[in-house]
């Protein structure tokens, strides 16, 4: 079967349990099992070739430019691991079916399990380290899900997060290492990398790459000092512990070290990093395991210890050690998985995992006792079980290893570790199964259904058989795996139960005897152990993460506390700094333009403009006054435009000014009339400095610009030259607006339209909220004057408004050739209407004649758009203008231009937008029933009329 399919099957299969769970737990389990079985069969179909020494591979380009490709290969090592993963996986699936209770969502469980399985298979089949990284991180994620499977358990959630944090960080480190490695080797394909041992080990980047990769491996395989996450992962359901955290995932680190063994191993650095770490881990794990009362904790630390053992073997760097490592990987997987399952059975049956509450179970659970016993003896390294064989090989290798010049240190420590592992293994038997039967089990335990003890039974059978006939059963796979690791053919592998009185034998006798002795001294030893001060890894971890979280929270919330004024200050400071840097780092030539004369009149204008601006600042607390002063400033700006040959701008500025002020006054009516004094002196100083800086910046920049000529002639010369010929207008500004750059104007009226509908929308939502009630019975800030609609104003408006509209029309029509245009005309027309609103009141006016503001805006934009699209029918681009001259009888000829139509759109959009905005604001004050039925409050004529009517 194709490797792609083998790797993909679990992922594809992951959907089945999630769906089939509706069809029942058996269906879910069956589907999961069959998927796994299928993959296993697929794998075994490839086995013969692999055992023959071939390498099966399947390659698919995924991201060739990056070198990340879906390249898979299957060699001995891959076959071994894949076999473990799928084989044990199958047993776990069966076991879990009976282990999980009805409350547990089993579909989810099996889906996660299959995801994990797929990721794991992916790791061991990858021939591309980037691809391997993908699967690597996936195992972290899926194990996160599986550990947190029991959501209601806090230790489950915390364990999951801890495991994720540790393994993921390792994975991230590994990304760095792998990128370096691939860079050095010139490829990310493992098969290629393995060719370049010398190149890689010679590279200066070897050390960082190795360290980063090892961090990845160590975290995954729970090597000291990253071992602490594994015991907390035991909060997961026992099948998960058995599968991920003893048999497979924690072996991924070992797999990686084995994978990279040919290129990375054999250096001092490798030896001291890997061997030492392994050794320390092995001893530490063993010691801690002895003093754990929780069955699973005991097994967890024993796992840590055995992983350390294997790591050490790989670290030694000798081929024989590598072979031993491979062999022990198999053996550990068998007996440890069996032990976990038995622990699960005990937990299930006795509703406790605490050794202190157990003992004497052999009478109640003979089957479990037998299985657990054999597995534990194998773990202890007692003949004739497989654990004995690999431990012998380990001790053999340790015996010949020289650490920092000392020939004894490493063997001694190894024995010490082995001794402890004997002790805890025996304790697992003695304190749980042996001894007198107790009467205080939480519930009376009994052997479980076969479905639950058969899986471990299968593994235990392997434990025994491998122990008895290693050559027959284990040799082929071990050899081919070892070949894959060491890179030579037919590695030496001839384990025997008895091969004479070797140092290894003495060492293991010492270990067994010492172990047994130590177990008898367990009580005092425990007292001693508890007396020892030892750092609790979880406490430290929690402290670190907690501190990090608090730190980042306070960092974030201090900087992003919503103080806009600080945000703006930072923005200004940064801008000034960068701009100054840009300026200072460039060269500036001398000014090239003659300046315009300074006349008395301009000085007066300057004084007024600047004076009004400064007054605004000085008096800004009185908000109404600030608005008056803004009005002055606006007037002065408009005069400046006029003086500097920009009549169009002057017109626009002045009309915009009026509308803005009306808008602001409408808003101010509902806001506080005074701004309180609340800035500290320091704050004011800061702001003053910043503003002056900004002022100097802007002023200096524009001065420098004005006093220099264009480096190259401006494109506006073309506009001047073609405005009349091509645009049909003599007001170049207007022609630019409606023709050369009509598209800008199109966008601009849309901005206005949007502004208006936003204002409308806000009004709607505010008036639709609780605010409305408060608005309805709000009291004015100050007592109001009488005579809301004074007679004189009303009468004057009746004349002024039509005239204003007339002026608007005039401004509109002349715009193309003289200052003016649709925009200004629109504003004037709007102001004319507003005049009416101010005179007789909004409600009266709208009751007399409601204007469809939305419609006007929409029409405006659509007219402009339609005008633009008109050009399409001549096969010309959007907004291409056309104009011609009409010569009617009796009258002089006049011009017709599509630009005028476009300008009409502008006119309408502006008119509608301004009115909709003002109307929305007016609605805040509008209260039902106040609509006066008369245009003016006081009207003697009207009163007389009514009197005479009453008279008759």
């Amino acid at each position: 079967m194709s490797l792609f399919l083998i790797a993909a099957l679990p992922f594809l299969g992951a959907v089945f349990p999630a769906l089939l769970i509706r069809a029942g737990r058996n269906a879910a389990a069956a589907s999961t099992g069959s998927v796994t079985l299928l993959a296993l069969i697929g794998l075994l179909l490839n086995a013969p070739a692999v055992l023959r020494g071939e390498t099966v591979s399947a390659r698919l380009d995924w991201l060739p430019d990056l070198g990340l490709n879906a390249n898979f290969q299957l060699d001995g090592l891959g076959l071994l691991f894949a076999g473990l993963i799928l084989g044990i996986g199958l047993l776990i699936i069966i076991y879990a079916r009976f282990y999980l209770s009805r409350e547990d969502p089993m579909g989810q469980f099996y889906s996660f399990l299959l995801l994990f399985q797929g990721a794991m298979v992916g790791i061991v089949l990858s021939d591309n380290i980037l691809l391997l990284l993908v699967f690597w991180e996936l195992t972290s994620l899926s194990s996160f899900l599986l550990i947190g499977y029991w959501k209601h358990l806090p230790e489950g959630r915390q364990g999951a997060r801890m495991a994720l944090a540790v393994t993921a960080s390792g994975g991230l480190a590994m990304i760095g290492g792998m990128l370096i490695l691939g860079h050095v080797a010139g490829s990310y394909d493992i098969s290629v990398i393995l060719q370049h041992k010398e190149l890689i080990q010679a590279s200066p980047l070897y050390a960082p790459a190795l360290i980063l990769i090892l961090i990845g491996a160590f975290t995954k395989s729970a090597q000291f000092p990253f071992h602490f996450w594994l015991p907390h992962a035991m909060a997961a359901p026992t099948p998960v512990s058995a599968y991920l955290h003893s048999a497979t995932m924690v072996k991924a680190g070992l797999f990686l070290m084995a994978r990279m063994w040919p290129v990375l191993s054999g250096t001092e650095l490798w030896f001291y990093l890997v061997a030492t770490t392994g050794l320390v881990t092995m001893v530490l794990g063993a010691v801690i395991a002895l003093f754990k009362d929780d069955l699973k904790a005991l097994l967890a630390f024993s796992t840590v210890s055995h992983l350390g053992l294997i790591t050490m073997l790989l670290g030694l760097g000798t081929k024989a050690a590598a072979v031993a490592a491979v062999f022990h990987i198999i053996n550990h997987a068998t007996f440890k998985a069996a032990l976990f399952m038995s622990a699960g059975i005990v937990d299930h049956a006795a509703h406790t995992r605490s050794i202190r509450q157990l003992g004497g179970l052999r009478h109640l659970m003979p089957v479990t006792f037998t299985l657990a016993g054999i597995a534990a003896l194998s773990m202890a390294g007692i003949p004739p079980f497989n654990g004995f064989l690999s431990k012998e090989m380990m001790l053999e290798e340790a015996a010949h290893a020289v650490w920092a010049g000392s020939a004894y240190l490493l063997p001694a420590v190894a024995v010490f570790g082995a001794l402890f592992s004997v002790a805890y293994s025996l304790r697992y038997i003695a304190h749980v199964f042996l001894g007198p039967k107790r009467h205080d089990y939480p519930t009376l335990p009994h052997d479980p259904a076969p479905g639950m003890w058969l899986p471990p039974a299968v593994l235990v059978a392997l434990v025994v058989l491998i122990g008895l006939f290693p050559e027959a059963i284990a040799a082929p796979i071990v050899v081919s795996a070892a070949d894959a690791v060491t890179g030579d053919h037919h590695s030496y592998f001839h384990p025997k139960l008895w091969h004479g009185l070797t140092p290894a034998l003495y060492m293991s006798v010492v270990a067994v005897a010492g172990g047994a002795l130590l177990l008898m001294l367990h009580r005092p030893a425990e007292g001693l152990w508890n007396a020892l001060p030892r750092p609790e890894a979880k406490v430290i971890y929690d402290a670190i993460v907690g501190a990090a979280t608090r730190a980042s929270r306070s960092f974030t919330e201090t900087l992003h506390d919503g103080a806009l004024s600080r945000y703006s200050a930072i923005f200004l400071l940064f801008t000034l700094a960068i701009a100054y840097y840009a300026y200072a780092s460039g060269d500036i030539g001398a000014s090239t333009r003659a300046m315009q004369p300074i006349t008395a009149m301009t000085v007066v204008g300057w004084v007024c403009l600047v004076g009004s601006a400064l007054c605004v600042v000085a008096f800004h607390r009185n908000r109404l006054l600030a608005l008056v002063l803004i009005g002055v400033a606006g007037l002065m700006v408009s005069l400046s435009f006029n003086y500097l040959s920009a009549p169009d701008l002057a017109l626009t500025q002045i009309s915009v000014e009026v509308v803005s002020i009306i808008l602001l006054l409408l808003a101010l009516n509902f806001m506080p009339q005074e701004t309180p004094r609340e800035s500290s002196a320091g704050r004011k100083l800061r702001d003053a400095v910043l503003s002056i800086g900004a002022g100097l910046g802007a002023g200096g920049l524009i001065y420098a610009l004005m006093t220099r000529d264009f480096a190259l002639p401006s494109i506006s010369e073309y506009h001047l030259a073609n405005s009349y010929k091509g645009g049909g207008g003599t007001n170049v500004v207007n022609v630019i607006l409606v023709d050369f750059r009509g598209f800008d104007t199109f966008g601009e009226i849309i901005v206005l339209g949007i502004a208006a509908i936003i204002i409308f929308a806000i009004t709607e939502s505010v008036l639709g909220s609780r605010v409305r009630a408060r608005l309805l019975n709000r009291k004015p800030w100050y007592p109001l004057a009488g005579d809301a609609h004074p007679l004189m104003m009303v009468v004057a408006t009746r004349v002024m408004m039509p005239i204003a509209l007339m002026v608007a029309a005039y401004i509109f029509f002349r715009g193309h050739n003289m200052p003016g245009g649709g925009f200004i005309a629109g504003l004037i027309a709007a102001i004319a209407v507003v005049m009416q609103y101010m005179a007789s009141g909004f409600s009266w006016a709208t009751e007399r004649q409601g204007l469809p503001y939305h419609g006007i805006i929409g029409t405006g934009v659509l007219v402009a758009a339609a005008t633009g699209m008109g050009a399409w029918f001549n096969g010309l681009p959007f907004l291409t203008s056309a104009f011609g001259y009409v010569d009617p009888p009796y009258l002089d000829e006049f011009e017709l231009a599509t630009a005028a139509l476009f300008d009409l759109g502008v006119f309408l959009a502006v008119l509608g937008a301004v009115l909709l905005a003002l109307q929305s604001l007016a609605r805040f004050a509008w209260q039902p029933g106040i609509a006066s039925e008369h245009p003016m409050d006081i009207n003697p004529e009207r009163d007389e009329a009514t009197k005479t009517i009453e008279g008759h």
């Binding site: 919503g562 103080a563 004024s565 200050a569 300046m595 315009q596 300074i598 000085v603 403009l609 600047v610 601006a613 605004v616 800004h620 607390r621 908000r623 608005l627 803004i630 400033a633 700006v637 500097l644 040959s645 169009d648 701008l649 626009t652 915009v656 602001l664 509902f670 806001m671 609340e678 702001d687 910043l690 503003s691 900004a694 802007a698 002023g699 920049l701 524009i702 004005m706 000529d709 401006s714 494109i715 506006s716 003599t730 007001n731 170049v732 500004v733 104007t745 009226i749 206005l752 502004a755 208006a756 936003i758 806000i762 505010v766 909220s769 408060r774 608005l775 200052p819 925009f823 929305s920």
Partner: protein
């Protein structure tokens, strides 16, 4: 003349910025309109200054014209900044009415976790 205009732009900018850094929404809005004056004058002046040379073509006589392009740009800018002012006024008003508070900073709340 250039000096006067530049200094005016500078002072308008400074005044505007100072108000924008205040703590209540209304002065900030006032500051924004002062700033928009400054920016409009700035943009306008990038066409260089000319007296009595409005870009209205004279069909009959050769005449000098000031640069019309910045004027068109400023017109667009004025319109847009008007729209923006309208919107910000409205939002500020609604914010004040809804929150009974016209502070521009939201530090009075525990984070901004709305």
């Amino acid at each position: 003349m250039e000096l006067l205009l530049a200094s005016a732009v500078g002072i308008l900018t400074a005044s505007g910025i100072y108000l924008i850094l205040r703590q209540r929404s209304f002065p900030v809005i006032i500051g924004l309109s002062l700033l928009s004056y400054a920016v409009n004058l700035f943009l306008f002046a990038t066409g260089r200054l000319a007296l009595n040379q409005p870009p209205i073509l004279n069909k009959y006589a050769e005449a000098a014209y000031t640069d019309p392009l910045p004027q068109a740009l400023v017109l667009t800018a004025i319109v847009i900044s008007f729209g923006m002012t309208a919107v910000v006024v409205m939002i500020a008003l609604s914010a004040y009415l809804s929150a009974r508070n016209d502070r521009i900073d939201m530090t009075d709340e525990t984070g901004e976790d709305a």
